[in-house]
Point group: C2
Chain length 463, copies 2
């Protein structure tokens, strides 16, 4: 897996192919050196802007021959450094492959290129009565969302990328192009290569096309915010709601610290208490039935200050506020970096997991607002640290490690949605045991020269 | 991948481990020589009846050292010879590993052993208010259903095994035991080994434990049968129903030939016309709303003779009849064997696919009743042949080949639910192109000695 010290030949061949779409400008290298996380910047040696699958295939063939690392880049919104060239090499920026290729409205499917973002897709779909539901908050590229098996606020109802990608076109390390899956609703035709590629974070292949499952825009949508006296009451409400089978479209938790940040940064006047942010989708009658059932659970748990966001604008503002929670929390503590944890536990253990995490954060004496997609059992502590305080980072890492251990002990996972990258790689052996070695064996079989996103996810390598 | 001609040493070691739970009796060999399909019997050299994961691990370690093929056996209900020892070796019969290990009712999950059948599981769950929905018709083992990524009548609403298996315990070819997935609702922690194992038909590992997703028993269930003047009208009704988003729990098509067989073998008095068999799940109000919406589509398409199965007994009889369609069709034509096709197409192409298949069968002049899980775009032609007429078999294979080509041209798959085994292996290159080679590379990485179910699914080998 070692690569020659000089990559000039490979880059010269790629430059011959792409012309000025191979960039080594400082601006391009810097732009691709960092994503939305706290990791130190690691610029690639060059950035390619392919326009076709054939170009991607040719580039990978060259990189494979020369042992040059290749990292795919969508919108740069990943949180675990998945798109950073931590071992140098070439970044493949998909911003020029961002078209809708085919809309199959009657099958509720769309074929897109990987550089298209989820918001751009939903803009394009607006007049069709259809939408793409997976919503990780950031306006991520669909290729990046597939590569990281993204999920988000609506996963409790519509599933994650695992449930909403029907097929892929993938360029393998050696330049071969494969198509996985089909446009049929199901298939038993051999290994599920689509599922294998989803969440492989660019280590097994580079996604050049996606066939996505769409959903009908609901006839009625209704959203609300309600406050609780305690974290326990809020989380117990979530557990009861999920266990009753109320088909929530969204059910998000924010603690009192996040409510305080919202008040400062979004101008809301929320009581400084734990809240649930919820949304219902369905027919008019269905939404009313769901809201009534949910309201009964809330009342039973002592929830109050039920505030309805009845207009589209109010709903958009609500979810925008929720999605901006991470930058807002950072902004509220100037000079901070945020180490974001991402555990996901069985719903029956959620209250315990959140309460223990809360107590643990308080005991460590650092700030750590908690929020999350609690309907999935997934929540984040945003551990806010002074960038230049090594003791802070050590404490945060210790905390994150204990959260991971707790999640695994409860039958959960160390990352519900952010993925592995380099940040969660240290937990993979604990989560998967020998299964992590199996991932390494699959990686070695499909990318024997180790050119695809080296240093990430699987065992071995230099990182 | 060649194995030594004499497996006596391996079997002696396994006998030392299992005692009389390693059988070489003629009765056991014969019982494991055939499943529910037309393939010629191929007995294994011995049958092992393990009782623990540790035993399975020890057996695989021995087989791997000696190069002895191993084929897992659940209930023997597979339709593409998946559980047959076509290259000899050892059959691992899981009938003694058939327990419910843990019920997590509050998480709607259950942990089971692979030999438990789906009906046994639902019996055990009856008092809990929960059920396991995947229903391939046969009372298959849950391990076999996972290994073949089974689906069935309720997949249109509840998904297939892909959607309802959260995690697995798997013994690898070299005896290592891995656990895949978790009990969390989602995870982004690396390659989706659960999905990779589902549908791998015992070629990558042997499943020894499954964590399954359960669903709440619906408050109300309602089922009905209705007749149509033409195949086109019935299928157009399905397409409209799915496209309108009516959340059908089941929507099954049978053609006039199947209706005739039902009348003979189940004592029904159905008009000899194409029918839809449907079921609605939900709240009382929800079911009424769905039934009304569906009724409007049916009326528009000229459907009639709407017959409600209002009691539990009537519903059970209805679905039992549907599930017995295959043996009933065979019985209706004594001396026949059935070659069952299994294509699945995008819902927008369903009417075309069914009509062209119908015309093609008629042109070939053989009998081929059509039925299927049309809500998924999946249907079967049961090609009924004289066992000893080579011309019949040649014609049926030609027809099946054209159906497969048609499915692929429409963006579908050659097998919606029956899997690959040996019967659909000849279509894998056409369906997956280079992707089939990728499956082979994964197989070689995880089972370098080729002991796991050789001759099936992936390229290469002796078959």
């Amino acid at each position: 897996m070692s690569r020659p010290p000089n990559c000039a030949d490979a880059l010269a061949e790629i430059a011959a192919l792409l012309g000025d779409r191979l960039s080594r400008s400082r601006a391009d290298l810097d732009q691709h050196a960092r994503s939305e996380a706290w990791y130190p910047p690691t610029p690639p040696e060059a950035v390619a802007f392919p326009e076709t699958t054939a170009e991607v295939s040719a580039i990978l063939t060259i990189c494979n021959a020369h042992g040059l690392p290749v990292v795919a880049w969508g919108a740069g919104t990943s949180l675990e450094a998945q798109a950073l060239a931590v071992e140098g090499g070439l970044t493949l920026d998909f911003s020029r492959m961002n078209r809708v290729l085919q809309l199959h409205a009657e099958d509720m499917q769309v074929v897109v290129q990987p550089g298209l973002t989820r918001q751009e897709l939903n803009e394009e779909l607006r007049a069709t009565g259809l939408f793409f539901p997976v919503d990780p908050g950031a306006n991520a590229s669909l290729g990046g969302m597939a590569a990281t098996r993204a999920s988000g606020t609506t996963t409790v109802r519509y599933g994650s990328m695992r449930d909403n990608v029907m097929g892929l076109e993938v360029v393998l390390a050696d330049g071969r192009v494969i198509r996985t899956g089909s446009r049929a609703a199901k298939s038993a035709a051999g290994y599920d290569l689509t599922a294998l590629m989803l969440g492989s974070e660019g280590t097994l292949g580079v996604i050049t096309e996606l066939t996505l499952r769409l959903h009908g825009q609901p006839e009625a949508i209704s959203a609300a915010v309600c406050a609780f006296d305690s974290l326990e009451a809020a989380v117990q409400t979530v557990m009861a709601t999920i266990q009753m089978g109320i088909p929530m479209a969204r059910i998000e938790f924010v603690d009192e610290a996040v409510a305080r940040v919202f008040n400062s940064y979004a101008g809301t006047k929320m009581p400084e208490r734990p809240h649930l942010l919820v949304e219902f989708h369905g027919s008019q009658a269905g939404v009313a039935e769901q809201a009534r059932a949910f309201g009964e659970v809330v009342a039973e748990m002592g929830g109050a200050d039920f505030n309805w966001a009845s207009t589209t604008e109010a709903r958009t503002a609500l979810w925008k506020m929720r999605h901006n929670a991470y930058p807002a929390c950072l902004a509220a503590r100037p000079g901070s970096i945020g180490l974001v944890t991402d555990i996901c536990v069985p719903i029956s253990r959620l209250a315990e997991a959140v309460a223990e995490t809360r107590a643990d954060i308080e005991a460590e004496g650092i700030e750590g607002p908690i929020l999350g997609h609690v309907g999935d059992g997934n929540f984040h502590a945003i551990l806010l640290l002074d960038r230049d305080n090594p003791d802070h980072l050590a404490r945060a890492r210790r905390l994150a490690g204990r959260m991971a251990d707790r999640a695994l002990a409860m039958g959960g996972t160390v990352t519900g949605e952010h993925g592995v990258g380099i940040g969660k790689r240290g937990y993979m052996a604990a989560e998967h045991g020998q299964g992590w070695q199996v991932m390494g064996a699959i990686k070695a079989a499909l990318d024997p020269n180790g050119i695809l996103n080296p240093g990430k996810l699987v065992p071995g390598g230099a990182a």
